[in-house]
């Protein structure tokens, strides 16, 4: 029932998470808090971004100067803010992909959960766009690399009239306006990202967008320490006269750039689209496990008390006006497409009492696959088979199908979620002498498979929630489970619901697992909370803090290392830009044609609408770098021929020869020049007849 065999990824996560349980404690386990952590990091980035904006200047030289001031003079406030801005973004990428992988591994993307999965996919792209526009704003060598490569790549789409990479052809081509545009984008895109993140959490009730305080403190602390120990890099001002040959890439945001450099643009564009669609469509991909039947409302036993709607973790129940004429205002209604059949609503319904009734055992809301009557029968059967423990006591286990006790065993009833058990069920088992004790074996304390199942169960037993188990019964159960621990019943009760430290999901040997296995034989599952939560908060802060610091420092390292050799050390770049409208072919109009035209439109010549192509040649020494027709731009070929191209050339003395021929009027321009090209130089050749034909913008060597 409801249980899939966990795959290798799910087992892997489980193993790592159990390790982290020990360092952070289950409440602060970062792997169970990836969504909230993503939000937390987002807000750190927003706050530090707003702070940085106060010191940021836009302008060709002012931009870098302001960033340099932020990083040097103001290192202790704005500099820290800049490093936080950078590293929190890097971590956000890590958190985002881990979140994606984990939800996928745990199978939490199908059925009712498709919405969160599907809406999470565009979040990825917006995180990337937010980040990449940010790198640009620093206007250092890395920014230059990102700007040039991004624009060159975007130009391959062919949707921009003028190639945008032309803006970075040479220092003379760069304008302040580009920075204003980038600032705008770097604010607008994150705003859209926020909107998407908000949509992403709409379908679930009480979405967790804030991590526990302790984890938030640890994360922020690790970020601040990293910001002080390893400030975000600043790689010298951008200089379009030369080319960044080796760049310290931020591998979280920019790892696609080496690929963009090497692979054909269409391959990357198609790959990105296909990949995105494939990931977004995963919820509907085979194999599609059958969806369990949604919960069902029985109006005869529903008076509209709302408890099921309040407890549903998936917003799958809403209260609607009464439809059966009973004198109640509301009735519960199940939104079948959102229901995951966890049964929490059945456990919440006050009518779900398992005590014998005159008629059938019907409740207000029930699960077709495991109705209350069947649950009761299962409990009675399991109680019969429950083996006696060492002390002769028989313990009945109610266990979660997603936890350590998911396997069938004598004396055990497996539920889709432990919160499916109504509190009166514990009372029933104990007062009717079906067992001497009840163990409730939930799923992992770090995170309930059905979000609030553990919380509700604990609260119901602790009477914090209405419709709680009777005190006596709850305590009897608690004592049985808590054992002779110190701390009293309340503590024992809370403990009891902690997960088993071992999990069937993990086949790891090891002491913990063996202990669990041994206990399982006796029908009781040792709750693992005892093993993991005995860690004192101070120790958790220290252990978790150290681990987090390690992670953030690792991220800080990957944020600039290993360096990427974009252009070989002894090579330089020649960029060629062409803009010329071919002269239209015209012929003299015949007398008839002239007569047909209105008097005011009569011209002696009739010209073709489409411009002719322009022929372009570029030779380096004896090698032809380019030799082609450049067609006119525009849908109807009415615009000028435009071209932007880059060539990697070896440094040294070369003879560069270029020619442009207008295929309309046959006019020809040509140039030949001996050039000494330094390693890392950016040599730009710009052709525009309006500007006087060929313009050479010689750069300088990367070191010069």
């Amino acid at each position: 029932m409801h249980r899939r065999t966990p795959g290798p990824f799910a087992r892997g996560f489980d193993r790592i998470e159990r390790g982290l349980d020990r360092a952070f404690g289950p409440e602060w386990n970062p792997l169970a808090q990836l969504g909230p952590l993503g939000w937390f990091l987002f807000w750190i980035v927003v706050v530090t971004g707003a702070y940085l904006f106060a010191f940021f200047d836009t302008g060709l030289t002012e931009t870098y100067a302001s960033i340099e001031w932020i990083s040097r003079e103001a290192w202790w406030h704005a500099g820290v803010a800049r490093s936080l801005h950078r590293y929190a973004s890097d971590l956000m990428v890590v958190v985002m992909f881990t979140h994606l992988l984990r939800e996928w591994a745990l199978g939490r993307f199908r059925g009712a959960r498709w919405f969160s999965w599907f809406t999470g996919v565009p979040v990825i792209w917006f995180v990337y766009m937010s980040g990449i526009t940010g790198f640009w704003l620093v206007w250092d060598r890395l920014a230059q690399y990102v700007a040039v490569r991004t624009t060159e790549f975007l130009d391959t789409l062919g949707i921009f009239g003028e190639p945008i990479a032309r803006n970075f052809l040479s220092p003379a081509h760069l304008s302040d306006r580009f920075f204003t545009l980038m600032v705008f984008l770097h604010i607008a895109i994150p705003l859209l990202l926020l909107l998407l993140m908000w949509i992403h959490v709409q379908r679930i009730s009480a979405a967790r967008t804030r991590p526990p305080r302790g984890l938030a403190a640890i994360t922020l602390g690790a970020l601040v320490v990293s910001a002080l120990v390893a400030p975000a890099p600043l790689k010298g001002p951008a200089d379009l006269a030369s080319v960044p040959q080796a760049v310290g890439l931020d591998w979280f945001f920019l790892s696609a750039y080496p690929l963009i450099e090497r692979a054909a643009a269409p391959v990357i564009w198609i790959g990105a689209v296909v990949g995105t669609v494939a990931v977004a469509a995963l919820p509907w991909a085979p194999p599609r496990p059958p969806r369990p039947a949604a919960a069902e409302v029985f109006l005869d036993h529903c008076n509209g008390c709302e408890r099921c709607a309040n407890d549903c973790p998936y917003n799958a129940i809403r209260m609607v006006p009464r439809s059966d004429g009973a004198p109640f205002a509301f009735e519960a209604q199940v939104l079948a497409d959102r229901c995951v059949a966890c049964g929490i609503c059945m456990g919440a319904c006050p009518s779900s009492s398992p005590f014998r009734r005159s008629g059938n055992l019907v409740t207000g809301i029930d699960l077709p696959e495991l109705p209350l009557a069947e649950l009761r029968a299962k409990v009675i059967r399991a109680a019969d088979e429950a083996p006696a423990g060492v002390d002769g006591a028989r313990v009945l286990t109610l266990s979660c199908a997603h936890g350590a006790g998911a396997e069938q065993a004598p004396g055990r009833v497996v539920l889709p979620c432990v919160a499916m058990a109504p509190p009166s069920l514990f009372d029933f088992i104990l007062s009717r002498g079906l067992a001497d004790g009840v163990v409730i074996a939930g799923c992992a304390a770090r995170e309930c498979h059905d979000r609030f199942g553990r919380t509700w169960t604990e609260a119901r037993i602790a009477r914090a929630r209405p419709h709680a188990a009777r005190t006596g019964a709850a305590q009897a159960a608690a004592h049985r489970l808590g054992g002779p621990e110190r701390g009293g019943a309340a503590r024992a009760r809370a403990r009891r619901l902690r997960p088993a430290a071992c999990s069937d999901a993990a086949d790891a040997p090891g002491a913990t697992h063996e202990r669990c296995r041994a206990r399982r034989g006796a029908g009781a599952i040792e709750e693992g909370g005892r093993m993991s939560t005995t860690t004192e908060p101070a120790i958790r802060l220290a252990l978790g803090g150290a681990l987090s610091l390690g992670i953030v420092l690792g991220a800080a390292a990957l944020s600039q290392w290993p360096r990427w050799q974009s252009v070989p050390e002894d090579a330089a770049i020649v960029r060629l830009s062409l803009r010329h409208g071919g002269t239209r072919n015209c012929r003299a109009a015949s007398a008839e044609e002239l007569a047909r035209l209105p008097a005011n439109m009569r011209r002696r010549e009739i010209c073709e609408r489409r411009r002719p192509s322009v022929h372009l040649r570029l030779e380096l020494d004896r090698h032809t770098l380019i030799d082609r027709e450049v067609p006119p731009s525009g849908l109807w070929g009415t615009g000028p021929s435009r071209l932007y191209a880059r060539f990697e050339v070896p440094a040294g003395t070369h003879r560069l020869a270029s020619s442009v021929e207008d295929e309309g009027d046959g006019q020809r321009w040509q140039i030949a020049r001996e050039v000494r090209i330094q390693p890392g130089e950016n040599l730009a050749i710009d052709f525009s007849p309006e500007a006087g034909g060929f313009m050479f913008h010689e750069g300088r060597g990367a070191d010069g």
């Binding site: 036993h301 408890r307 004198p327 009518s351 005590f355 209405p466």
Partner: protein, 134 residues
Amino acid sequence: MAELVWREEFSVGDPAVDHEHRELIDLVNAALGRIAAGAPADEIDAAFGDLLAAVSGHFAHEERQMQRGGYAAYPEHRADHERLIDRLRDLMDEAHEDPAAAAEALVPALEEWFSGHFATHDARLHGALGPHEH
């Protein structure tokens, strides 16, 4: 044996609550009737089971009404509900263990259990909820 009878002063002004109170009176009377008639233990058990399920539902409903209406005496009222459920459960356990011996004591206990809460807590709800549409 005196059956419980619905009285106008039981009305709290909310038709839904009143409706359930009437139903509960019927269920209490059914239980009393079975005890008086010396019905088999199973049947008495079942009558109590019916009552428990119904009264749990009713209390939940009443609590929701009180919460919605911002009823000041909600905590005390709810505490009394919990006390009543505990008491009912005790009665059920007694009846379950020894139906014959428990039967006689049960009748006054049940009456007290129900009428007591009606006369005090639920009566006070009257003004608070009042007749209004839900």
